[in-house]
């Protein structure tokens, strides 16, 4: 079929030019020397003025990590990572204490401006281009290893919400951090989480007290800028009884020829009747068409529905990274708690995605829903890997999983690896998966009605991912839609 050949050619032509966030910001930075050792762990801890117990925690993680092996089970191939050839800490050089945003390096501010991330509250408040009544978002901007700015802190504080870089939280609310850090993802959970525990530098800390509905969306924007660095952020969100918080996360990195490591850990804790909505638009640099460069994204994300009737919802749009290894999960412990996972993973060029979720039904009458859409194009490999399990006591556990894959071009692969483990007879699990290419009939139908081939493909793809896009907060849905069209540009227009 001519159309298919044309599509393939166009997919092949997709190059890094399409990656719009590949620029480098020229800021003077201070870095830890290359390599990883106890001294580096101490260095990071000292740079952050951390309490003694935190240093011990890190050192223990580091010692554990040294005894562990890199996991090999995922369907991703990459040359061995030299963990000694990285800078584990990099921060823009700055004055010791920043009094206001004006003291942030203007280059960095410009970076975020370019990325379209609003860091100046007054600009946001001025609402020049924003229509009346649009929701505001508080942003924590993490640049390499440190948080450079966090907006709306005061307003949030008035509502009782703590939203600050985790390094700051360690100093200001050590009792909270100490209580929850590592309680969802234990120090020795897996190779990358353990590495993160040893060397994590910054990330966001959110605490929503009992009964508070967070007055605005919270978000963190991660940017890797420096060469040869790894980013190891750590996010911890605690939602007290009956509270609600929606959190967004975005990430980009410059275009570089070497691969960079990103190993994050995200922990969510939801108490009775609390709800956490966690949305990610992951757009790390994916490498060029030949697979040179790009971010290795090894992320551990887990939510703990600790309280009864609590709810954690993960939504992710994955378009970036050379390698994605990421399984946002839910521990459904509270009675009647529920977990959701909505994902769109788009791979192109030589990207490799191995992503999915785990829903562990532990409490009674817990429910979960998984909707995963994978689109592979170019020479990419896209794998959904998910586990749904019901503990012996998980009476009435209910899961529904749908994972669909769409293939564009004949050089790519789409894989589905679901695991279902039921140890309770009243558990009801349903799983369905399909893989197909866009049906010629559907395309023909659209073209016959006057759409161009590319418009038709775009329409079908958007319809295909609609279930997930609907779950994203408004601000992200727009961005995600744009991202999808960028990622597939050339193949869908």
């Amino acid at each position: 079929m001519a159309a298919v050949q044309e599509t393939i050619d166009q997919v092949r032509r997709i190059d890094v030019e399409q990656y719009k966030y590949g620029f480098v910001t020229d800021v003077e930075s201070e870095k830890a020397p290359k390599g990883l050792s106890e001294d580096i762990v101490r260095y990071i801890s000292a740079r952050k003025n951390e309490p003694e117990w935190m240093l011990e925690w890190r050192l223990e993680a580091f010692r554990r990590w040294q005894t562990m092996r890199e996991p090999e089970w995922a369907r991703v191939n990459y040359p061995p990572i030299d963990y000694q050839d990285l800078h584990y800490y990099s921060a823009p050089r700055k004055k010791p204490e920043l009094a206001s945003l004006d003291e942030v390096d203007p280059e960095i501010l410009k970076t975020y401006e370019k990325l379209g991330i609003p860091l100046r509250e007054q600009e946001i408040l001025a609402g020049v281009v924003r229509p009346e009544g649009e929701r505001r978002i508080a942003v924590d901007a993490v640049f390499d290893s440190v948080s450079v700015a966090t907006t709306f802190q005061a307003e949030l504080k008035a509502a009782g919400v703590i939203f600050m870089p985790i390094s700051e939280a360690l100093r200001e609310h050590p009792e909270l951090v100490r209580k929850y850090l590592g309680s969802v993802v234990p120090v020795s959970d897996n190779y990358f989480a353990t590495l993160n525990s040893a060397v994590f530098s910054d990330g966001s800390f959110v605490y929503v007290p009992e009964g508070v509905r967070c007055p605005m969306e919270l978000s963190t924007y991660f940017r890797i800028n420096e060469k040869n660095t790894g980013q190891f952020e750590r996010t911890l969100i605690i939602a007290g009884k009956g509270s609600y918080v929606s959190y967004l996360e975005g990430c980009t990195a410059p275009q570089r020829d070497e691969n960079q490591l990103h190993a994050a850990v995200v922990e969510l804790v939801a108490m009775d009747d609390a709800e956490i909505k966690y949305s990610t638009v992951q757009n790390w640099y994916p490498g060029n068409a030949e697979g040179v460069g790009g971010i290795y994204n090894f992320v551990t994300k887990r939510g703990d529905c600790r309280g009864a009737r609590s709810k954690i919802s993960w939504t992710q749009v994955e378009t970036g990274s050379a390698i994605t290894w990421k399984y946002p999960s839910c521990l459904l412990r509270g009675e009647g708690s529920s977990g959701e996972f909505y994902s769109i993973a788009i791979s192109n060029g030589r990207q490799q995605v191995d992503s999915g979720t785990k829903m562990m039904h532990i409490g009674r009458n817990t429910t979960s829903r998984i909707v995963s859409k994978g689109i592979s194009a170019g020479r990419s490999q896209n794998t959904y890997r998910g586990l749904v399990s019901a503990h012996r006591k998980a009476k009435g556990a209910r899961n529904f999983t749908a994972c669909d894959s769409l293939l564009i071009g004949d050089q790519c692969g789409a894989h589905t690896v679901p695991y279902m483990e039921a140890k309770n007879p009243t558990a009801v699990f349903e799983h369905e998966a399909t893989t197909s290419k866009i049906s010629e009939d559907v395309l023909f139908y659209c073209v016959q009605r006057g759409l161009s081939q590319e418009e038709a493909v775009g329409l079908v793809v958007n319809g295909f991912v609609k279930d997930v896009l609907q779950q994203l907060p408004m601000e992200f849905a727009v961005e995600a839609q744009k991202l999808i069209s960028i990622s597939l540009e050339g193949s869908v227009g």
């Binding site: 089970w73 004949d410 894989h415 039921a422 699990f429 893989t435």
Partner: protein
Amino acid sequence: MNAPVTTIRTEAEQGLVDAFTAAAPSLPGGVAVTAARAAAFEAFSRTGLPHRRTEAWRYTDLRRFMRDAKPLAPFPNLDLAATAATAGFIAADLDFRRLVVVDGIFMPSLSDLSGLEEGLTIRSFGAVLGEDAPLLPDVLRDALPEYDPAMALNAALARDGVWISLAPGVAIERPLHLVFVSTGESPTSVFSRSRVTLGAGARLSLLETHEAADGVAHQVNAALGLLVGDAAELTHVKVTAEGDAVLHVGSLIASVGARAKISTCGFALRGAVVRNQMFVRLAGADTQAEISGVSLLGGRQHVDQSLLLSHAAPGGTSRETFKAVVDGTAHAAFQGKIAVEQAAQQTDARMMARALLLSEEAEAYCKPELEIFADDVQCGHGATVGTLDDQLKFYLMARGIPAKEAETLLIQAFVGEVLDGIAHEGLREALTAATVNWLEARA
């Protein structure tokens, strides 16, 4: 960080090493076969028995199920072998051509070799190996993953089995019945290997049954290779109905030619631990495959049906349906993978795996997997785990059917979806009757 790896063998692994060392000189085979056996065993002794972290064996931990390796079965005791005459109860009323394998040895004296149809050749696999014919032809090797521990052990230790060949264009009406029986009064390891080759356009129906007495912990490793030529048609049903202490590891390896049809069904009825693995490769274009499984489990049984189905050529159609009914403290596992190679455009593959949990402590594990490298395909899989639908039961009860009977009807219907697909009427009825018996025994 990389400590040197030292091999620590479990008792069972060491037992197998000893058994192979002792038996190797007496196993049938010429230079090539002997070398292949040594290589297979070498590969096994490097990796050992599969365990929880061996992905393909994730739910069947042989290190746990095989505490020790039983001694290799000796040549069958002829008095005991005579009991095999009553084996194959499933097909007792059916006029199938019985080919009996006792303790891994093909017994022509107990088999029906009279009036063989023209074009049908039946021989001892050991005799064929003695002529140094390959243990596994390349086309079958292509259907297997790079390494499978059960197949490696079988290659190393299998002495005999049945070797069947059907000339091109020949259609055999009378089905063949491979009767496998383990007789020893003390536990033994039984390895057998059989092969069925269908020439182009040939047609054959095959039943394979495995039996052994209760209370004897035999370890059975049976492999069956199926070579289905272009435009040939093969239907195959395998029934495992061994004693309550038997560990059965069965492997089916099939390569299917262009425009050929294959239908295979694994029916797991009895046995302490059953691992029924199928490796099917649709090597030619426009093949049709129907692959199914039924597991009826109770007590402390563990049944694992697993499937690797490779679509290697364009235009293949396949339907996979696996059902498990789990009672008692039994564990049912299903691991199925549909792999669509890049050449296999226009593949249409559907896989459905369902488990029905009947008791508080029954467990089901399910891993349906799709691996797709071709874009112009329609592939799907579905999986469900759950208990009987109360509403359906209520519907029947509201119409005067007692609870137990309603359950039985529903379960029968659940399994019936697979059994109804069995082409041979007599066999279909026999398997349905076995299901009904199982359900009655349960009630």
